[in-house]
């Protein structure tokens, strides 16, 4: 009990330390960037006294440590400042944009894991065979062809030429504003509204970006699964399992696979974090109104508050997913206790 408490305390303190580092880093980004937030807010042509007044109002005439404390105080109250571009509080913007990314990332991760893990296991079992080579080529292509290229080709072929896929965006324009936002996740909101046409439309719009993102992540998951499984299949306990007279499927999925589950959790958590931080390129190509697009547009317009806000969010996601992975280790591998 005592040992468990200690390891919990160690995990929590490392999380807190990471969060502190994250606030310092984002604070510094705001100061180091060669962008004057005052000019960005009031414009280039504002008279001198307006600029001075704005500077005082924004607290930028204070010493740096005071500014930092003020920053932490604001963060603690969920205040990320205002976005110059959208004229909304950043927190509100994030609440609006994040669900779109969440929906895309989660669907892509599920697809990637459901295809990638079995493919990786299959390749490992048939190591060196034609199947293994074929899977390797498919994965290599998925990991090396740039996502924007796949996205553009996909749009060109399926939307423009064949016209079997919907164009960019999350939904057709006729459903715009028709669905009440409850969760922000369109597939769920349309179901809550009971509008199945809108639901189908949302799914159709997701198909291309989800498949392209999933292909990229699947390639990584399959490659790692293959490597882990090849190692596991060399274990003596696999011989034991076979000597017991178990079927090949039980030996693979019942004995070898559970031993690599822990390693896979890390891979999947990191893949998920990567997807959640906003597939910037994919979101841009598909005009997907997610966090990645929000970040890019803000960055290009020197709108620093959203940049810092989303950076913090992405950091939080990483820390959170690592924490979850840590907890899952303890559940999945009895040796970790």
């Amino acid at each position: 009990m005592n040992r468990r408490f200690k390891s919990l305390a160690a995990t929590l303190s490392s999380v807190l330390l990471t969060l502190f580092g994250l606030t310092v880093l984002t604070f510094l980004i705001g100061r180091v960037m060669p962008v004057d937030p005052v000019i960005a807010a009031v414009g280039d042509n504002a008279p001198e006294d307006v600029i001075l007044r704005a500077r005082t109002e924004m607290g930028l005439d204070q010493p740096i440590p005071v500014q930092f404390l003020h920053y932490v105080y604001q963060l603690a109250h969920g205040d990320f400042g205002m976005s110059v571009l959208t004229k909304n509080p950043v927190a509100q913007d994030i609440v609006r944009f994040f669900p779109a990314t969440f929906e895309l990332a989660t669907a892509a991760l599920l697809l990637a894991a459901l295809v990638g893990i079995p493919l990786g296991v299959w390749a490992a079992v048939r190591q060196g065979s034609f199947t293994d080579q074929a899977i390797r080529v498919v994965c290599l292509a998925g990991h090396s062809v740039p996502v924007f290229m796949l996205s553009l080709i996909s749009l060109l072929v399926f939307y423009s030429a064949l016209d079997i896929a919907p164009g960019p965006g999350r939904q057709d324009i006729i459903y715009d504003g028709m669905i009440d936002t409850v969760t922000g996740i369109l597939t769920i909101d349309t179901l809550i509204a009971g509008d199945f046409d809108a639901f189908r439309d949302a799914l159709a719009h997701m198909a291309q970006p989800v498949i392209i993102l999933a292909y990229f992540s699947m390639a990584y998951i399959a490659r790692m699964t293959r490597a882990f499984m090849i190692d596991a299949l060399k274990g003596e306990f696999v011989i034991t399992a076979r000597a017991k007279g178990l079927t090949l499927a039980t030996v693979i999925w019942g004995h070898a696979f559970p031993t690599v589950a822990v390693q896979l959790v890390t891979v999947i958590a990191l893949t998920y974090a990567g997807l959640l931080e906003g597939a910037v390129v994919t979101e841009t190509v598909f005009s997907w109104p997610g966090i990645g697009q929000y970040l890019t547009v803000s960055l290009m317009n020197a709108d620093m508050n959203p940049v810092i806000g989303t950076t913090l969010l992405i950091g939080l996601i990483y820390v959170g997913l690592n924490l979850i992975a840590d907890i899952l280790y303890r559940v999945l591998d009895p040796r970790v206790k």
Partner: protein, 275 residues
């Protein structure tokens, strides 16, 4: 005859050609205890694994006869092999630290063995597993059944392995150096346990070992292997007074507490032994 091996050859294909590791081994085994001794690399384990068809796919196995209870192993399908493995022939590996699945409880691993060949519900299987753990003289079988392999000692792990392999009541037990990874004091206990259970159940035992005195003590017959050949086969009781120069050489290499030697002799190998 439970096991008949005639002129068994095992080789590995590599870029430079076929490398023979076992070069024509013959032996038979009934309801008795046969020991195989020999140096590392003499082909003991390969012979045993070939009998269960547990070698990697790229291994080249040939034999005039390789049979378990009259079933031709070389021609047997995976499905036929599964009805032999575990069910009719158990296989105990060297080190329980590696041969037990690290992320499954001991109880579930023993129960799986029982359940696979005897059917029944999961609950019955777990109860049977606890009974089996008791049979291999584990004091608190319920507690051990709930534990994971890394939580028990090597000796205890090997008892678990024995329980697991005896669960479906096989007719043959193959033990591939079952005590090499254990402490000296535990080794004797484990062997006594194996001997007891094998005699009680009237099973055949194939015991692979480096330990000559131990084999001479526990087995009925001994086959001495050298470089992929059986160079000598004799009654276990005669092992310590064996005549073959290789066996004599092995015996000479053993350090003795009573007559300590300044230096242990090194085997002088004679190509004649392979004829």
């Amino acid at each position: 005859m439970l096991v008949e091996i005639n002129n068994l050859k095992i080789g590995f294909q590599s870029r430079t050609g076929l490398h023979q590791a076992v070069k024509g081994v013959s032996m038979t085994l009934g309801t008795e205890k046969l020991g195989i001794v020999g140096e590392s690399g003499s082909g003991k384990s390969l012979t045993a694994r070939a009998l269960m068809k547990l070698l990697p796919k790229q291994t080249v196995i040939e034999a005039d006869k390789l049979a378990f209870d009259g079933i031709d192993i070389l021609a047997a399908s995976e499905k036929q092999m599964r009805s032999i493995r575990g069910k009719r022939a158990g296989f105990i590996l060297q080190d329980p630290k590696y041969s037990l699945n690290p992320v499954k409880t001991i109880g579930s691993q023993v129960a799986e063995s029982w359940h696979t060949h005897k059917g029944g519900s999961r609950r019955q299987a777990l109860e049977a597993a606890i009974m089996l753990l008791e049979q291999v003289k584990i004091r608190d079988p319920k507690k051990v059944a709930a534990a994971y392999p890394h939580e028990v000692s090597g000796g205890m792990g090997q008892r678990v392995m024995i329980a697991m392999m005896l669960a479906p009541d096989p007719e043959l037990l193959i033990a591939d150096e079952p005590t090499s990874a254990l402490d000296a004091t535990v080794q004797a206990e484990i062997l006594r346990l194996i001997e007891e259970l094998v005699s009680e159940r009237g099973m055949g035992l194939l015991l692979i070992s480096h330990d000559l005195p131990l084999v001479s003590h526990f087995c009925d017959r001994v086959a001495v292997m050298y470089a992929g050949h059986v160079v000598e086969e004799l009654k276990a009781s005669e092992l310590l007074s064996a005549q073959h120069p290789y066996t004599r050489g092995l015996l000479n290499c053993m350090p003795s507490l009573i007559h300590p030697k300044e230096r242990l002799p090194v085997l002088t190998r004679d190509p004649e032994w392979l004829k």
